[in-house]
Every structure is written in structure tokens, then in C-alpha cells.
């Protein structure tokens, strides 16, 4: 055989190598122009290749995308991001202790979810992936409820049927998370089409990882959003990795993911995903665009998956441990805290106090959650629930199967 000519995408650093993030095209904070949200799609093409940033290296908020949020809002954002992170940390430890079977952290990506949730209206409908717990936290879901789901205990909102992290909430307008990648993307578009059909002004927003943009449903979503000008925000969270494969394996070499928007006739914005202010501003811009009938925006949020893919994963097998330190866009919590310090409304002491408070909050929630049982210790869910909700009514064959199981269980007791 002759020498292969197949191109194989480059990776910044394998274990033991020095990371090189020069492929991440940066713009200076404040550099990118902010057109009106009803700008023509074609004119967003440059936005899709630059990087919307508000916070500069010194923590100052600069440029036309500065959303000029009130300090309380910023403090709320910091608090919610921190809460998300501490919740994640605690749940990760809990998994290590064997109390829950599986967990997925959003470490380093908290701004992507929290800032977006804060920029959207309460009635807007959210279609998260499994790494957007910041949405649930920011929408005010109780940590106890989230934990009970993780524990599949007697208070589990999913009645024991889902892997941990596959939350949902009708009142908080958070769609049910799927274990199948990308399926929520066309669903969000359909929700938005329905809003338009009904003449309502609510919009939808969906999130997927950059790796998942390769999936068919990503394309379905963009196509339907384009054709019907659906009021939806299509967020691509480019955290550089999809388990062990690098973003180049989803087509990220030399081209942004935001460019998929203009490619099909949707607005596209590439945003510093670790800049709380930039994410907020870009989301608000896209929401205004959608709500005013100008259609969908593809938002690429450039960030970095600072932890493992999930508790089943060991990234030291496939990427350099140094990467996380070299990542050019820093950490979203540290950057917002720096900004607030600079603004004079924050300092290390207050930060430490907040951490302590939130840790206690998480710990208290955990105590309450496990009082409702764990996967292995009671109180437990009734196994008969296994047969409910397959259909609205229990059909005869499932009644028979349920009775067979209950007989089997009682015989063995």
C-alpha cells in the first residue's frame, strides 16, 4: 500500500506533550462590533469568526457588547456559578464514594449556562444537554430535587428511570434531558415553531456540545430553524473535547462552529464562553433577534472542559494534564470575581464567606436528599412504578408483567 494521504485532525497535546492553543483565534475584549439584533444574516459572518469578549485581562468590562448589568445581577451570577461548581464538586465526591452511580461536572463552563439563563425571560423554554446544570441552578430548582434525581430515591422526579443528571422541570421550563446526543436541538426548534404558530412571543434555547454538532439532529435543527425562521437560540458549547476526541473531529479545524449559522442562513456569533458578561450580552442579543421575528442565532460558546468527561472517564489517558492551565480564556468564576473586585464590590474575604455559605447550603441539601433514600438504601421507590408511564394507561401486558414481578419479589421475601 502506498503512503496514506488521509488527513487526521491535529490535537493540542497528548499526554506528556506541551499544549499549544494557538489554534484558538482570539479577539481583544471590546474589539468586536455589535450590530443591531436585526442585522442581515450575511453581516454576521465576521462575528461568527471573531470572539465576542467584554472582560479584558485586567477584569475591566469594555466595548459595545458590555451588557452593563447592575452589580446585584453580577453578584447573583457569581453566586449561581459558584453554587453550580460547589454542587458539582460535592456530587463528584459523592459518586466517588459510591452513593450515586454516575455524574457529569460542568467545571469551567458555568458561565455558559448561568449567564444564558439570566439573560432569558422566565417563560422561555430551555433544552439543555447533560452539562448545563447551571441552567437548573439559575432557574432556581431546589438542590434537594436535583440530588434526589441523582440518587434515584423515593423523591426522584424521574421515578428512578433515568441515569443521574437527566433532570427536567415543567414549572422551571426545563425540558427533559436525553442520553442520546443532539436530539434536543430539533425539539427546541419545534417548540419555537409552535410558539410562532400560536402567535406567542416566548422563545426557546438549546445547548449541545461541539462534538455533537456532527449528529444528524444538529442539521435538522438548523434547517428547520432557517426555513420557518423559528424563534430559538442554538447554543454550541465548544469545550474543545468530546470524551477523547478533540474539536477538530467535529470540523473545528480552521473554522468556527458559529460559522455554521451564516452557512445555512442563520445569524452566527462566536463568544468567549468563560466571560460571563459576553455570554449574557450575546444571549440577550440573540433573544431579542428571535423575539422580534428575525429568526434563530447559532451561538458558539468557546470554553474548556476543565474536568473529566464524566465520572466514567479518565482524561489523563488522552490529553495533557497541563492543558487546563494553558487554556487562554481562563476560568469564568475567577474572571467575574476579578471584575467585581475591580469594581470594588467584591474581595477575597467575601468570596471565602460565600464559598462557605454555599458549601453549607449544598451540605444541608444533601442531608435532606438522602433522608429520602438512596439507590441502595430505603426509603426506596416502589418497583411497580417501573411499569407506569410507558403509556398513559397501564396496558394489559404490562399489568401482567408487573404482577409477575411483584409475585417474584414477594416469594423471595
Amino acid at each position: 500500500m502506498s503512503v496514506s494521504k488521509l488527513h487526521v485532525p491535529a490535537v493540542p497535546a497528548r499526554p506528556g506533550e506541551r499544549p499549544d492553543f494557538s489554534y484558538v483565534r482570539l479577539s481583544a475584549a471590546g474589539e468586536v462590533a455589535r450590530p443591531a439584533p436585526d442585522v442581515a444574516v450575511a453581516d454576521t459572518a465576521p462575528l461568527a469568526e471573531s470572539l465576542v469578549r467584554v472582560l479584558d485581562d485586567s477584569g475591566q468590562a469594555v466595548g459595545p457588547w458590555n451588557p452593563k448589568l447592575a452589580p446585584e445581577q453580577l453578584l447573583t451570577g457569581l453566586r449561581l456559578m459558584l453554587l453550580t461548581r460547589l454542587f458539582d464538586e460535592r456530587m463528584q465526591r459523592t459518586q466517588r464514594q459510591g452513593r450515586i452511580t454516575f455524574y457529569v461536572r460542568s467545571l469551567g463552563e458555568e458561565a455558559v449556562s448561568v449567564a444564558a439563563a439570566m439573560a432569558l425571560a422566565e417563560r422561555d423554554m430551555l433544552f439543555p444537554s447533560y452539562r448545563n446544570q447551571g441552567l437548573h441552578v439559575a432557574r432556581g430548582m431546589s438542590l434537594v430535587d436535583l440530588m434526589c434525581q441523582l440518587l434515584s430515591n423515593s423523591h426522584d422526579m424521574c421515578r428512578g428511570r433515568q441515569l443521574p443528571v437527566m433532570y427536567h422541570s415543567v414549572p422551571h421550563r426545563l425540558f427533559s434531558i436525553s442520553g442520546n446526543l443532539a436530539t434536543q436541538f430539533p425539539q427546541a426548534v419545534g417548540w419555537a415553531m409552535a410558539a410562532a404558530i400560536k402567535g406567542e412571543s416566548d422563545i426557546a434555547a438549546a445547548w449541545i456540545g461541539e462534538g455533537s454538532t456532527a449528529a444528524a439532529d444538529f442539521h435538522h435543527a438548523l434547517t428547520f430553524a432557517k426555513v420557518y425562521r423559528a424563534p430559538v437560540i442554538l447554543n454550541i458549547v465548544n469545550n474543545q473535547w468530546a470524551i477523547s476526541t478533540f474539536q477538530g473531529y467535529a470540523g473545528g479545524e480552521q473554522r468556527s462552529f458559529a460559522a455554521r449559522g451564516p452557512g445555512i442562513g442563520l445569524a452566527g456569533l462566536r463568544v468567549d464562553g468563560n466571560d460571563f458578561l459576553a455570554v449574557h450580552a450575546a444571549t440577550a442579543w440573540a433573544a431579542e433577534r428571535a423575539r422580534s421575528g428575525h429568526g434563530a442565532t447559532v451561538l458558539e460558546l468557546v470554553t474548556y472542559r476543565a474536568g473529566a468527561h464524566s465520572t466514567s472517564d479518565d482524561p489523563s489517558r488522552y490529553r495533557s494534564r497541563e492543558e487546563v492551565e494553558q487554556w487562554p480564556l481562563g476560568d469564568p468564576i475567577a474572571r467575574l470575581a476579578q471584575h467585581l473586585e475591580r469594581e470594588g464590590v467584591w474581595d477575597e474575604e467575601r468570596h471565602a464567606a460565600l464559598v462557605a455559605e454555599l458549601e453549607q447550603h449544598v451540605a444541608a441539601a444533601w442531608r435532606e436528599a438522602i433522608s429520602h433514600g438512596t439507590l441502595t438504601e430505603g426509603p426506596k421507590l416502589d418497583p411497580a412504578l417501573m411499569f407506569e408511564d410507558v403509556f398513559k394507561e397501564l396496558p394489559a401486558h404490562l399489568r401482567e408483567q408487573r404482577d409477575e414481578l411483584l409475585a417474584e419479589i414477594s416469594a423471595s421475601e
Binding site: 415543567v170 427533559s176 436541538f185 435543527a221 410507558v390 398513559k392 401486558h397
Partner: protein, 339 residues
């Protein structure tokens, strides 16, 4: 009462539901302005508007995926897949989402979606316009799978499907859209006019899902079948002058096994007939379930007549199609089995 063929009956069902329920929308490839390649949605867009009867991009996965989202926003979509042979690009959304949503969210979110799709052969459509894939849906927990065999059932079942709070895959045997078909291609095409099941009320009515129908009562043996094959089986039974009971399954899931098992327990002999390929097809479940319930009543092995286990071949349509002759052969064989 007006006479309708299946196309008109299905059209009427959607018309009635678009009128009655503002949550109902109809969508699919070519269903809007044009009215569908089989004319089943003819006139609906004109009457109910382009925002309720939508032409869609050619992406079956997108049609179903967006429909799930519409459900979450309170609508009741009726999605058409132009041919059942083109439903596979939507298989992931159907299996992983439509079928699972109620379960995984403990009924917080549901997908009261109806997916209509023409199935079956006998129209010289070749391998990509003739398939009967009901088996790969009936196996999936969380969706209902049904197939009517006449205009009256078609309308009543489609209304029931649209009103059902569970997702329904609604197969339409396209060979009998315009008239019943007994499996003899050389005879002049029949029309539904004059057929008792073609008397279809104009307005609202339902035929409940999950109930089989005894299309012909009898005591010598039971023929369990559905779709186009109901008519083929009736013709075969009649040609042989057998006192057979012909049961129209109508609903694969939920399956009315009680009616079916009662028939087989009574007659002691059972022939299962469908167009879909035999191996691993829905007939296998029928056979297994019947055997489990009726074993001590069986006087002969349960037999199956089905499509051969090949793709649907264009040139050999009538050698492939399980026609009257093949059903008659099986009936003869079944009656000849000694106890």
C-alpha cells in the same frame, strides 16, 4: 351516510380534528399546498392555513424531532412520512425520544404525536415504496402501532390516534387506499363504493385503538391478519368455502390478545398472515403469544404466511406478494394437519 375511500376518510379525520382542536397541526413533505403524493391531505392547507398544515424540508428525523418539541409546547402534531420506507431516518427520534419521553420524565413531558405513513406493496413501487416495517416499531416500548384495513376504521382510528395522549405510528396500507384488494393483480381494480366499511360518517367519531375486529365469524380455523391482507384472506377463505374466522388485528400495540386468543381457542387452528417479511416480523409475536395462551387448544401448528425474507423486488411483485393462492395453500395445509 357518505361513501369514502381510505384517502377521503383519512383526509376527513384530519379535517375534523383541525376544526375541533386548535392544537392539531399537520406536517410533512408535500402535504401542504400540494396535498400529499397520495392526496391524503388535499385541501387541508387551503382550509386551515399554512401555519397549521406545513410543508416541511425533506428530513424525516427533523419532522419527528420538531414534532416532539411542538408537543412540549402544547400542540398535537400529525406528521406524515411520505412512505414507510423513508421512516428510518426518523428512527432515533422515534425510539429514543417519542417512545421514551413520558417514561423518562415521569409524565412531566409527553409526546401525543401521530405519525402517519403509507406502507405495503402491490403498487409496483419497488423496494423503496413497498415496505411494511411495523415489526420494528411494535417491539419498541412506549409507542402504539396500528394499521386500519378499511375507510371506516381508518377515519375512526386516526381520530382516536390524534386524540390519544400517547404517540401512535399509524400505518396506512396504500394498496387499499382506493379500493379493497384480494391479491389478484390481473382483475380490474375494485373501488370502495358499495363496501359496507366505506360508509363513513362525515363528522367526528372514533374507533378505539387496541381492539381487534372479527371481520368474519367462523369456527373451522382462525386467520389472524391486518391491513391489505385482511381482504386477501377473506377472498382465500371464500374461495375455499371454509368456515374460517378472520380477525383483523388493527392494533399491534396495544395488542388485543384476548380477542385473538379466544378465537384460536375456539377453532384450534391458526394461520397468521402479513405482508412484512417473515423472519422476526410481527407475525412471530402473534404466533408466540397465541401459542402461550392457546397451547392446550391447538390441533395443528400455528402457521405463518408472510413476505419472503428478501427486499421487495420490483419485477417479481406478484411472486413476492403473499397473494390469494399462497394463503389458500396454507389454509389447505393447515386444515389437513391431523391431531
Amino acid at each position: 351516510m357518505p361513501t369514502m375511500n381510505m384517502v377521503q376518510a383519512l383526509n376527513s379525520a384530519m379535517d375534523v380534528m383541525l376544526q375541533r382542536d386548535p392544537r392539531v397541526v399537520v406536517l410533512g413533505e408535500d402535504v401542504g399546498y400540494f396535498g400529499g403524493v397520495f392526496r391524503v391531505t388535499d385541501g387541508l392547507q387551503k382550509k386551515h392555513g399554512a401555519h397549521r398544515v406545513l410543508d416541511t424540508p425533506i428530513a424525516e428525523g427533523g419532522i419527528v424531532g420538531t414534532s416532539v418539541g411542538m408537543c412540549a409546547n402544547g400542540l398535537r402534531p400529525v406528521a406524515e412520512i411520505q412512505f414507510a420506507d423513508y421512516i428510518y431516518p426518523a428512527y432515533d427520534q422515534i425510539v429514543s425520544e417519542v417512545a421514551r419521553l413520558r417514561y423518562r420524565s415521569a409524565a412531566a413531558f409527553t409526546a401525543p404525536l401521530t405519525i402517519r405513513t403509507p406502507c405495503g406493496g402491490g403498487i409496483r413501487g419497488g423496494q423503496t415504496h413497498s415496505q411494511s416495517p411495523e415489526g420494528v416499531f411494535a417491539h419498541v416500548s412506549g409507542i402504539k402501532t396500528v394499521m386500519p384495513s378499511n375507510p371506516h376504521d381508518a377515519k375512526g382510528m386516526l381520530i382516536a390516534a390524534i386524540e390519544d395522549d400517547d404517540p401512535v405510528i399509524f400505518f396506512e396500507p396504500k394498496r387499499i387506499y382506493n379500493g379493497p384488494f384480494d391479491g389478484e393483480p390481473d382483475k380490474p381494480a375494485e373501488s370502495w363504493v358499495g363496501h359496507p366499511s366505506a360508509e363513513v360518517p362525515e363528522g367526528y367519531y372514533t374507533v378505539p385503538l387496541g381492539q381487534a375486529a372479527i371481520t368474519r365469524a367462523g369456527s373451522a380455523l382462525s386467520v389472524i391478519t391486518y391491513g391489505t391482507m385482511v381482504h386477501v384472506c377473506l377472498a382465500a377463505v371464500q374461495a375455499l368455502g371454509l368456515d374460517a374466522e378472520v380477525v383483523d388485528v388493527r392494533s399491534m400495540m396495544p395488542l388485543d390478545i384476548d380477542t385473538i386468543a379466544a378465537s384460536v381457542s375456539k377453532t384450534g387452528r391458526c394461520l397468521i398472515v402479513h405482508e412484512a417479511t417473515r423472519f422476526g416480523g410481527f407475525g412471530a409475536e402473534l404466533s408466540a403469544s397465541i401459542q402461550e395462551r392457546c397451547f392446550w387448544h391447538l390441533e395443528a401448528p400455528i402457521m405463518r404466511v408472510a413476505g419472503w425474507d428478501t427486499p421487495y423486488p420490483h419485477a417479481f411483485e406478484w411472486e413476492y406478494f403473499p397473494g390469494k393462492r399462497r394463503v389458500m395453500n396454507a389454509l389447505r395445509k393447515l386444515m389437513a394437519e391431523a391431531v
